[in-house]
Homo-oligomer: 313 residues x 2
Amino acid sequence: MSAKPSILIVGAGAIGSFYGAILKRAGCAVSVVMRSEYDAVVANGIQINSELGELSYRPDHVYRDGDTPESAPDYLILCVKVLPGVDRAAMIRPWMGDNTRIVLIENGLDIERELADAFPANPVTSCLAFIAASRVAPGVVDHKAYGRLVMGSFPSGIDSETRALADLFIEGGIKIDLTEEVVGERWRKCLWNTPFNPLSVLANGADTATILDTEGGADLIRELIREVMAVAAADGYPMDENLIEKNIAGTRKMPPYKNSMALDYLNDRPIELDAVIGNVVAIAQKHKVSVPHLNTVLVTLRMRERLKQAESA
Amino acid sequence: MSAKPSILIVGAGAIGSFYGAILKRAGCAVSVVMRSEYDAVVANGIQINSELGELSYRPDHVYRDGDTPESAPDYLILCVKVLPGVDRAAMIRPWMGDNTRIVLIENGLDIERELADAFPANPVTSCLAFIAASRVAPGVVDHKAYGRLVMGSFPSGIDSETRALADLFIEGGIKIDLTEEVVGERWRKCLWNTPFNPLSVLANGADTATILDTEGGADLIRELIREVMAVAAADGYPMDENLIEKNIAGTRKMPPYKNSMALDYLNDRPIELDAVIGNVVAIAQKHKVSVPHLNTVLVTLRMRERLKQAESA
């Protein structure tokens, strides 16, 4: 049995703490970089409440910003939100070694490029998380449901280190879908997230039923999905037109649901506007695809952010 | 000198109280139908603070809903907001006589048809008010600026009774612009109101500077104005393309400004969604004009209204 690789989680919120626990259970050395909850985690470790069994753990090292790492990790897993003003490349630079692989478990589209450009010699594995988990106290995470990761090498393919990491996640107890086209998978996830998430914020935190049952609501969602599809196709990722009605029918079958962006908004946390819709509109402009519905939603949300900043200044 | 006509103001808020005062000063008998502020007005009359001079008055009659009028007025001036669930025809029916003329001093587009249809024998005069006034206490109105009315007979022309009423307003001290095409004037006012008002609500009460200075904001306003223009043209009221840049440049010159719909929203009062944007989108659909930006704004605001109703239920 060869030694298990070392892992460093940067941004150990609910998602990062959970996947760190999975890799810890698989036998890896797992360290974390904490911001606000450093003291709690040094004192008590990370507690995970989950139906997957015992997952609570003491990280091998608990670091803070500004600390000097003992050694560079084999895999640096980045789980911070993608927000304007958050320089993710600067955030991970102190922890990167020559052979450190960057692993993203983050939402949105076109979020890899910035890091691939900043660290051209370090390969990138990109993951989409399908999980319901939330932090309930400093260092304490409730894992509510799911946990599957869709993962692949960026920009495409599945290299041996991506595969090795996938095996560790599976060993730790979660389901992995490897993909040769992780960017295409991101587009597919955007088909739902890009219409529903920002719209629910704009409608002051409306749930899925409110969105779909409003006069004109389902048609607006159709138009938004159609625009995302047109941009994806122009970007090289065509999708089946049937997905529009499948997405809507699937959403109608779920109980009324407030998505994570709506919850962020209602709890006055920053929202991942660029990752979820801004980058889609930027790619549309690059390919000269007309996206009037998406653009109206994006610009109006930007107005709101601007107003909020002005009022809190 | 012939006897001055009798006036009944239905919806004597800031606007109705002010224009009633003007006609009172011109020598008319002016009565009012009050809802919430009946007692205060019976006790103290209506107080108007204005640079136009003494305008406070005691109405000839102060009525409540359900009262029986002594006689039908020559002019019934309707100043209520145009809101879903407010049946304006039912509201004025008890006060209408065979020879009563309906006068609307109300915002929005396509707001006359409902009343013209309900009272086919009674002619309609339609007015757009350019005024800054607000109610500061029961029966007390601050008139801050302006007061000009643009008025004409509905659907077009200027008949003798519209002209007679205009003369009375002028005699009372305000500026009147008579128009042969009052519907065209409503479209012209919509060029500003339809883009800016609902967008400011959607952006949580953003002022004009926030709207125009946001990345993509001025372009979004341009698209919205262009769509309003396309609908107006399809409806028989073409306008000069130059008005787009004129509207934006004029807005930039004003101090940052929160429009009345934004203020209604921020003060948790109902907003005139259909009159200001819903009717524009309905007319677009009738003429098969594509209005994706307007539609996104409208449907998202409807989602918000639906959410609000559900939460207050």
